[in-house]
Symmetry: C2
Subunit: 309 residues, 2 copies
Amino acid sequence: MSHSEFSLIEQCFVSKAMATQTSTVVTNGDDASVHNLAENEQLVVSTDTAVQGVHWPDDFPLDQAADRAVCAALSDLAAMGANACWAWVSVVAKGRDALAVIGQGVTNALNRYDVELAGGDTVHASLNSLNITVAGIVEKNTAMQRNKAQVTDNIWILGHSGLASLGLEQWFQGDKDGGFVENFAHVEPKLKQGYLLRKLGVRCCIDVSDGVLQDAGHISKASNIGMQLDVEKFPDWQLLCGKLGDEKAMQLMLSGGEDYALLFTAPVNMKGLDELATCIGECVENLGVQVHYQGEEMKFKQSGYDHFG
Amino acid sequence: MSHSEFSLIEQCFVSKAMATQTSTVVTNGDDASVHNLAENEQLVVSTDTAVQGVHWPDDFPLDQAADRAVCAALSDLAAMGANACWAWVSVVAKGRDALAVIGQGVTNALNRYDVELAGGDTVHASLNSLNITVAGIVEKNTAMQRNKAQVTDNIWILGHSGLASLGLEQWFQGDKDGGFVENFAHVEPKLKQGYLLRKLGVRCCIDVSDGVLQDAGHISKASNIGMQLDVEKFPDWQLLCGKLGDEKAMQLMLSGGEDYALLFTAPVNMKGLDELATCIGECVENLGVQVHYQGEEMKFKQSGYDHFG
């Protein structure tokens, strides 16, 4: 890269990133970064791309969009119960100003969660987007996975479901100070909570990025079990139902993504979960995800966002 | 993701990716992938984004563009001397057809170098681009770095310099079967060679992605030494000079990127390098990069591509 470009990266990203990891041997500024892992640790890696106009509205503040993209990526580490350590961030920006604002959002999020910026890339192109690869560590063979649910496990949710979608609807309707816009604007990756769940012995978890129905479906399929959910037990059921009626409330809670709650299963006798999360159902033998409302099974069509639909 | 989208990823990427690593515990299809490292190993990570119309011409075949983007990312691991293990690939595509073709190019490259597709993401948007994060391993504290050059080290180049730029020029001039187009179209990451250099004891290396002058400048700055290059010693000097004259030959060799040669330094008494690479100069005390031609020092302006210039 040229000197001016190097300075730009330095100015927009590196100089603002505060977190450092003692296990990092070579960081930002070489061809690659180099890291140590302890003998009893495993590496956990996830990658996500967020594009303006797809993952956030065109008129949404770029720094908040970048911040939430980083947090959404970190949420995948939370779902594994990993200790988040490093991020490699590539930014495609329409110009220097956009790059600077995106850089601010990226570093705000990384600094808030004490994650090191270990490398990255910048490109000038016709849209704004960013790719975030994040990595963390877990003690060997303790990572929470989608395929570890057991029949008779309870199903729990940690965090909200449907509020971010409602906030996004408000934004699109021009109500940019709407009461739920903040739920879309600020993603909280449940890193501490995921870590705690893993330490408590939880082995099956997913983060809800595409709606509870769809993400529960991933657990069901991977674990080869069925899942019965009771909408009236969801943490925001009363709020959403009272405000919007039961049909709309159900649609938001079950199909609205973007809240980045943790959906997990745990043996019925596991202690300590009540203070962290809400039990919303149980795992059963029949495959698939069933939803109950007022004692009856509800039918739902295809849910979630299909990028190439 | 929806079922149809999941099938698309499965169809375009996962089903075509062949390499697997025994050290991978959880792969593609969970929130994150999980990997083991041995006690004497360090993790090496790099990320790169390539965008249509920026990193390859709009009318260039998408599968070749994706293939070379993956290889360019792997080249960073080669420059560290790492054993390439995993890739996480996020694709932004204009549609299903583009996604399928990009997927083919990505998997072609990964399979050729036995690198595992450990995760990824797909997005539908208004341009074609891909982000590739690659990771590999090195024995502890042996990674080749930019800051390890020593005064009196010889400077070596492994691979071509200038040929890919010439090929790209031919493409843009409409000579799409031009003799050097292949040099642009097919990137060879020097993974085996980088590994071998590290094993031979080389400690300072960079891959030439932005032109020899600029990348030598990175070594010079990071190592706090000067570098003297002799253009007449470059491997393709005779070829390019005979074909294009000395001025154009020099410009291509010194400022043309995209060949992904390895530029490294080594103590003068190091054995085994002659069969792998070409000695093109030496490290000196004065800072900066000097270029000699016919015994005289040449002057060059700022070189390399500035994305936000």
